[in-house]
């Protein structure tokens, strides 16, 4: 599987984000519209879509920057049910909740009811 290595521009963008995050807190709503929030961090459309917007985006592409479910789960450990450390499922499609250009849709809630962020 071709691994999507972050470009220098992306790394710079991420670096800037890390720096600025100590000065300007990033709103938690960033998870709620992926397309916008990635764009705001100067990440190109092609990082997710490569050269075909109609194709699905496999987990490997998200994880090439975001490392792994285990790493991400640390960022959502405050939630009363951690969607990135599900006791039921492994390797759920990232984009099934994080729909690129729409508001996030957490399907854990289909059974568990509202899952809160503290």
């Amino acid at each position: 599987m071709k691994k999507n290595k972050p470009s220098f521009k992306q790394l710079l963008a991420v670096g800037l984000v890390v720096l600025t995050s100590t000065l300007i807190p990033i709103s938690p709503s960033y998870a709620y519209d992926l397309g916008k929030t990635h764009k705001d961090q100067s990440i190109e459309c092609t990082s997710c879509h490569e050269d075909n917007k109609k194709a699905i985006i496999p987990n490997e592409r998200c994880l090439s920057c975001h490392e792994s479910y285990t790493e991400i789960s640390k960022q959502t450990s405050d939630m009363h049910l951690n969607p990135h450390m599900s006791p039921h499922f492994l390797d759920v499609d990232c984009t099934s909740c994080h729909q690129g250009h729409k508001v996030i849709k957490n399907f854990c809630q289909d059974c568990h009811g509202p899952v809160a962020r503290h």
């Binding site: 194709a55 499922f89 289909d110």
Partner: protein, 504 residues
């Protein structure tokens, strides 16, 4: 997986040939498995371990289906039973299963399944899955191999994720949110499936063999109404798993034969403010309760709750497919301090102390639940639950006098479960039949090949799990605890093995 440019060239070449389905992507593989539950994963892993290339299609964003949540497997003469000196034999189990179903089932399928069940458990051990052996209730033998938790995964999820990881290592490709739509079929031969990913891209998968394992039709009200005798408005599914009988339908569309479509029913406490599978539900399963229908009549020995399917059968045939489970403050205290006599599988195990029960009841009452009622007298309770006062009073008083005498002259409940309900307040919980999954479906032979109307195997087509017919009469075989889960593994493995023989 091919790189993007290679795929484009290949796709264009195929599109220029006579392909009526305008595909955006074409995949060629040895085996395509439709459905990523325990049946599908067992088939995929077996085939991959035998050297075949495998693609698994799953319509949900996650694998497992019901198998991610079910708890254990039936087996007989396993190592676990040997260690526990549990002497039930394969012959005894086979005969009992045939008898339970009044011989309205395929004896050969059952014989093979029972005989291979211990070996299937051993195979699962090799994939990193462990079990502990229990007896689910006084009604059933010690045959339920409970899946042990693994890492942070619980219940069936521990099994599914283990098979999933092994399958991935063995080269199996998973396409999630990619439901199969249609079988590719001509000259009595299945040669693949047409599928669609979540972005609407059409995918053609060409294969030597297709395994159908979509977990039945439990979430399709339409199919429950068309294919079974059950009312889909009252017999509700346990979980929203999106199982709409796609696999059965696809095979029926090319002439497959079906048999025995039904539901694996169980009792659920139904009403606003009731959290499923917790204290209130557990309380409704206790053998010391009094059950009345909506005419206020007692209608069965309430210790039938030990056998969840028979309990649902009894409640299910009452008017409105419903009943009320009545108990008193002494029952609540017993459940809270001594622990329950009957658990809900291992989700709420037997002897669990329902310390949160009073709070749960209060919460449900606070939202004026239609499923939880209380009163200080039987007359007042009759009004609360909307049943005729005189009838309820008579049935209640009769029940209490049986209990005081220690003999149930009406329905012969064991005296152990006869406690007069005359301490403090009375409570009533509405109980109705839910179902864990559908049962019945495609006819298969012992190789797991799908059969057509002439009872001949359709070349290249296999099926397993709760998708198939010929396993159950009118009721799921409760006596063999974990029968469906055990059969899922058995049929998946067998399909994989049969396919390897065919394609080599």
């Amino acid at each position: 997986m091919k790189t993007h440019t290679k795929l484009m060239t290949f796709t264009i070449a195929i599109l220029m040939s006579t392909c009526s389905y305008a595909a955006d992507k074409i995949i060629s593989t040895d085996v395509v498995v439709v459905g990523g539950g325990s049946t599908g994963l067992s088939a995929a892993l077996t085939a991959a371990q035998g050297g075949a290339s495998v693609v698994v299609l799953e319509k949900n964003p996650y694998l497992g289906g019901s198998s991610a949540f079910a708890e254990g497997l039936f087996a007989v003469e396993s190592e676990y039973q040997r260690a526990a000196s549990h002497g039930l034999t394969k012959d005894e189990a086979f005969k009992h299963i045939i008898e339970f179903n009044h011989n309205k089932i395929d004896n050969s399928l059952i014989r093979n399944y029972v005989n291979k069940s211990a070996d299937n458990i051993a195979w699962l051990n090799e994939q990193g899955i462990d079990f502990r052996l229990i007896q689910i209730s006084p009604e059933e033998p010690r045959v339920w191999h409970i899946i042990e938790d693994r890492e942070h995964f619980i219940h069936g999820g521990a099994l599914i994720t283990a098979l999933q990881q092994k399958a991935k290592k063995a080269g199996v490709k998973f396409l999630l949110r990619t439901p199969a739509k249609k079988l590719i079929y001509s000259d009595n031969k299945v040669t693949g499936v047409e599928a669609e990913d979540h972005k609407g891209n059409k995918i053609v998968i060409k294969a030597e063999a297709v395994v159908i394992a979509t977990g039945g039709f439990g979430n399709s009200k339409k199919k429950i109404a068309e294919w079974t005798e059950y009312n889909p408005e009252t017999f509700l599914p346990a979980l929203p798993l999106n199982k709409t009988g796609d696999g059965i339908q696809m095979a029926k569309d090319i002439g497959a034969k079906t048999e025995g479509e039904g539901l694996m029913v169980y009792l659920a406490a139904r009403g606003a403010g009731i959290i499923p599978m917790q204290g209130i539900n557990a309380m409704s399963w206790q053998p010391t309760n009094l059950w009345v229908n909506n005419s206020g009549e007692r209608f069965t020995n309430e210790a039938v709750a030990f056998s969840f399917g028979k309990a649902a059968n009894s409640v299910g045939r009452q008017h409105g497919n419903m009943a009320w489970a009545i108990f008193d403050d002494a029952s609540v205290d017993y459940a809270t301090h001594k622990g329950i006599d009957q658990g809900i599988g291992v989700i709420v195990p037997t002897t669990t102390k329902l310390t949160g029960l009073r709070t749960e009841i209060d919460n449900a009452l606070a939202v004026n639940s239609d499923g939880v009622k209380t009163a200080s007298s039987i007359e007042a309770l009759a009004k609360e639950i909307g049943v005729p006062v005189d009838t309820l009073k008579k049935n209640f008083n009769d029940y209490n006098s049986y209990s005081e005498n220690g003999y149930d002259a009406q329905f012969v409940k064991d005296h152990k479960w006869l406690r007069p309900l005359n301490h403090g307040n009375l409570y009533a919980i509405k109980i109705m039949p839910n179902h864990f999954t559908s049962i019945g479906g495609l006819n298969i032979n012992t190789k797991m090949q799908v059969l057509n109307q002439d009872n001949q195997p359709i070349t290249g087509l296999y099926a397993g799990g709760v998708e198939v017919g010929g396993l159950y009469g009118d009721t799921y075989t409760l006596w063999a605890s974990g029968h469906a889960y055990g059969f899922a593994i058995h049929s998946g493995r067998t399909a994989g093995t049969s396919i390897l023989k065919e394609i080599k």
